[in-house]
Symmetry: C2
Subunit: 268 residues, 2 copies
């Protein structure tokens, strides 16, 4: 079964999409076709959104689901006419919040992603620049500056996780690739010893690692399952011996890895 | 005035935090102290969350706000006892959705960030790897592979925007820095002519650009306001002459720049 779902918002639509998509996962046997309609900031855009949604309703001969995070009551009322299945993700909570806080809300457009805080922006940029410039290569001085250092074998997911942590948590995240040189013993590499409290390990199923490495280098020892198994076994042994917390990234998303690291390290 | 707000979820807490924070912006004169309690997946964790929240209530002598995206009804009921100001961001919509879709929900833990779709994962990784390996430097072949190419002067925000577009929209995003060499005329650089339909420009207020550049190189012509003004004027003239859509990144977040680019280019 198919069903259309629209996410309408006055800014980027990130909030509407995030919660809306999460709600839709509760109905796994329906194949939802999703459309984001962002930046609905005036009546003209609201009427255009209604036309788009009603056009889809006619095509499908069934009313689509519409999820809204619109904050302006006038625009909201226009878009609400688009479908009988209109879900007001934002306004639903405003009245009870006004009661809880004993004051009126400001009814301004969702400022979550709009407000410009130059201090926070600078911090985020510094974290991103740090992370980008220290991808696979660290001096002891860099390690001192880092908020966090991820350890793992090549292709275990360090780089995307570092970037996510920098982008979303403004953490200066460095990464240290564990290589053959480090596996002479299962002791922590010397350069990492002074920053033991910043270390976090990533591991991954050897089969998945082998698959990912084959995409980069289709043949040779680097991507062989035997080699992947050996490297992962050594890395995990090191994490355990050295009491480094670690996570298996095999079947979870970057968002979840990052949130877990932040929680485990008490960084948020 | 201060008030505590807790975001409780059974996964990363991203959804609860995103919507909760957006709701709180409607009460700008209250200074909210926010705490994320992620991964509340069993009764033990639920009771621990309740204890944390009630401890805060005693400290503050006022009940905190609690925003929940918990999906398990048993865990949800436990956490709901933590405060009279409990906002069920998820469950509130499940019953009306069940009516709209004429079926029961699965009541499984929020799978938004948990489900592992290896096709989507690969696409995201390919986009990230492409973007990382083509930061400031492109061959004609690379341009052919790109989904999108951002243009702008040095430090106008190209790199973080590219990374965000790759991370969140799985778009292979390249960037082309406009330099003195390109400003001999206001014509499009030759290498970019075959991919005209993939181009999008970034501009920024000269004062902001100068400030950002000074952080990198405190002295010299590179960060001078005169130079920044001249570069921005040339870049904007090129965008207009060549009919390239562009956005002023001065006072908006990376999320908004990215969502605007995706919308304007019809990529989502």
């Amino acid at each position: 079964m198919n069903r259309r779902a629209f996410f309408v918002s006055d800014r980027t639509g990130i909030t509407a999409e995030t919660l809306g998509a999460s709600l839709l996962t509760q109905f796994p046997d329906i194949d939802f076709k999703r459309t984001n309609i962002p930046f609905v900031t005036n009546e003209l855009a609201a009427h255009a959104a209604v036309a788009t949604i009603q056009h889809a309703a006619e095509d499908d001969a069934i009313a689509p689901l519409v999820f809204s995070t619109l904050t302006d009551p006038v625009i909201q009322r226009i878009v609400a006419t688009s479908s009988p299945h209109f879900f007001d993700l934002f306004g639903t909570f405003i009245a009870p919040l006004e009661i809880a806080l004993a004051r009126q809300s400001s009814h301004t457009a969702g400022r979550m992603h709009g407000v410009f805080d130059s201090g926070a922006y600078d911090k985020r940029m510094q974290a991103l620049n740090f992370t980008l410039s220290h991808d696979d290569g660290l001096s002891p001085r860099d390690l001192k500056e880092a908020d966090l250092v991820l350890l793992g074998v090549s292709r275990s997911g360090k780089t995307p996780t570092c970037l996510y942590l920098a982008m979303h948590y403004s953490l200066k995240t460095a990464n240290y690739p564990l290589t053959d040189d480090d596996f002479g013993s299962i002791k922590l590499p010397k350069i990492l010893q002074p920053c033991r409290d910043k270390l976090y390990g990533l591991t991954i199923a050897p089969e998945q690692l082998s698959r990912i490495r084959r995409e980069r280098r289709p043949t040779g020892d680097y991507s062989s399952l035997v080699r992947c198994r050996a490297e992962i076994a050594m890395a995990e042994a090191m994490f355990r011996t050295e009491n480094i917390q670690y996570i298996d990234s095999t079947s979870i998303s970057i968002e979840e890895i990052a949130a877990t690291v932040v929680r485990d390290m008490g960084l948020h």
